[in-house]
């Protein structure tokens, strides 16, 4: 059964008995996904910095080490290259490690292990050694974090062949996509939008949403296709509301998967609206929006009435807490950008 097929059927392996809908945050949904994955598959292990008794600095691994014991969920020494490197060895032995980089910028010490090994091992060995590893990375800003705590480094991963890169924007996806990521035989960079960890929705767990590899039209519109992911999905929806008051009908797409890019869903929307814009927190120059814009233009040029716009961070290091509001894309900034088009 391929993963895509799998997504068409209900989750086969839910350890959490379905319950009545309750208010669930992204952090709680991720926690439930980890718990259920640990329960159904003895090969799943969770380790990293402070993921044990503390439950992670964002409490995503809350109580898991107590429930499953130290041999399934444990605190490792403090070294990101070590965490990724040892996870690779474990996966070679048949485990399915789910590891955490505590904050986005703290994944950088593991860059060599991720790009030179994790991404390349399956290709190197002609598919004989696959590495079903999930690296969870809380990313992006908006939480008033001091330097190094708010980076959006998705491009470092999306530009690296061999990695799958996904990012949920809501609790249901958080649960479903993390389960799917853990079941994937490809290494997955699982980006968690830290400013949205506490965003709640009413939800019955376990839940299964669309495949993590597909984008979703989350609000229909006719004038513009506005693409967002992770932390900027909320901003995009706000922009759609604002646009509605100004008479612009904005279709919002939650990309969910950054690598691969869902050309089909996005293409259909852009061909319909003839205009596209993408919004992200990372610096614009060489940011993920560059690929989105280049791709849409390449594939749908003659459908486009205007250039694909990027509403992104400035080309500067992420600002200090007092200044981040001036950096982060806002609904107003999105609307102002759309205003620059010749309509």
């Amino acid at each position: 059964m391929t993963l895509l097929e799998h997504r068409l059927s209900p989750p086969s392996t839910a350890a959490t008995a379905a319950t009545a809908a309750t208010s669930v945050s992204i952090a709680a949904a991720l926690n439930a996904a980890l718990r259920d994955a640990l329960a159904v598959d003895p090969n799943v292990v969770v380790f990293g910095e402070d993921v044990g008794p503390l439950g992670g600095v964002f409490r995503v691994t809350d109580s898991l080490s107590a429930e499953f014991g130290e041999s399934r969920v444990w605190d490792s020494p403090l070294a990101e290259s070590g965490i990724v490197g040892t996870a690779i060895g474990m996966a070679m032995y048949g485990l399915r490690p789910v590891i955490e980089m505590q904050f986005d910028a703290f994944s950088y010490p593991a860059f060599e292990q991720i790009t030179s090994h994790l991404a390349k091992m399956a290709n190197r060995t002609r598919g004989r050694v696959t590495l079903p590893i999930v690296i969870r990375i809380p990313y992006a800003g908006g939480i008033g974090g001091v330097e190094h705590h708010s980076d959006s480094s998705e491009v470092y991963w999306t530009h690296t062949p061999g990695l799958t890169v996904v990012t949920p924007s809501n609790p249901a996806d958080a649960y479903s996509m993390l389960r799917e990521a853990i079941e994937s035989d490809d290494p997955v960079i699982f980006l968690e939008p830290k400013s949205r960890y506490w965003a709640k929705e009413s939800l019955t767990l376990p839940t299964s949403t669309a495949s993590m590899l597909k984008a979703q039209v989350i609000r229909e519109g006719t004038d513009v296709s506005l693409l967002a992911y992770g932390p900027t999905v909320k901003t995009a929806l706000q922009a759609a509301d604002l646009g509605a008051t100004e008479g612009i009908s904005i279709e919002v797409i939650d990309l969910r998967s950054l690598s691969p890019f869902d050309d089909e869903t996005v293409g259909a929307s852009v061909r319909k609206t003839s205009r596209a814009a993408v919004v992200h927190e990372a610096a614009q120059f060489g940011g993920y929006g560059a690929e989105v814009a280049a791709r849409i233009s390449e594939r749908h040029f003659y459908y486009l009435s205007a250039p694909v716009l990027r509403i992104a961070g400035f080309d500067i290091p992420y600002p200090s807490p007092k200044l981040e509001e001036f950096y982060l894309p806002t609904a107003e900034r999105i609307l102002a950008a759309l205003d620059t088009w010749e309509w």
Partner: protein, 373 residues
Amino acid sequence: MSDEATALRTPVVPTQLPIRLIDEDGVAIDGQRAAGFALPSPETLIGLYRQMVLARRFDAQVTALTRQGRLATYPSALGQEACEISAVAALRPQDWLFPTYRDTIALLSRGVFPLEILSFFRGDWHAGFDPHEHRVSPQSTPLATQALHAVGLAAAARLRGDDTVALALLGDGATSEGDAHEAFNFASVWHSPVVFLIQNNQWAISVPFDKQSNARTLADRAIGYGMPGYFVDGNDVAAMFAVVSSAVEFARAGNGPTIIEGLTYRMEAHTNSDDPTRYRSTEDEARWRRLDPLDRIEKYLVGSGALTETVRADIAERAEVLAAATRDAMNADPVIDPLELFDHVYQTPRPALLEQREFLARELAETDAVVAS
């Protein structure tokens, strides 16, 4: 690498018990435990005590301000004053300090103004002081990375023939990072005048030392790099000062680097947003509170008659003045021009970045216009 050359070198193994000059009851000791280090003079000890009192008062004030929401975050060094203050007291003006986020009180002790230090934690800007003015590097967040900067700076000073020494502060957790190893090794191969001071406060956020290392002591690491290592009671300021000073002067004299491990305890939470009840016991905390480094030196100084009530009162008063100044500085609201965001990224101006600056300037002007109207 002939057998003979190899045979000549015997490693110096750090002592098995942490080096100590003043015991837990505030009594000076010597003999084997002192490992040949002598008690600093009463004047020196009074000076260290004074800095520790100021540091603790400052730290308490900042913790309070953080609880009041004036700071974005603050990692307290409560309980680590003996390490922090010794590190700075052992340096001369030409030397450089490479601190971490934890080492705010070391900066204070080095003479950086409270406001200049704290503007980082308040969230104004990533570093609030001029590193060259104080010879203090920005407080490093990416763990262990600053140790390499210290080695490089020390190597540059050595190349220039200057007698500058660099001192890098590291946590126990940080020693697990690859950069810590690379720093130790580069320093030793290059004979860089650098001192690595590991504050083993036994916790890396929630992770206890025994999940961080299986070493007998972190000072033992020094053996594998061919440099001296010292395991010191990090709550004994006399011992810390004696060992760190000696390592600094050893480096200055051209003998290369040293690793010092000060065994201490992080009495506070990791930062204000941490919750230590999730991972450590109140007994553990209580045990270490009884080993308070400030109590110990105070007991000794009072016991030996070196610390008079007048001096103590004077220091306490100074500490209150400092706390008040800190409160005032932090209660004022800073004005930071958002357009400065674009000013320092490159020294060579970039047209595209100036366009972005223009964009934000226009946006700000429009917002102002809306607000004004």
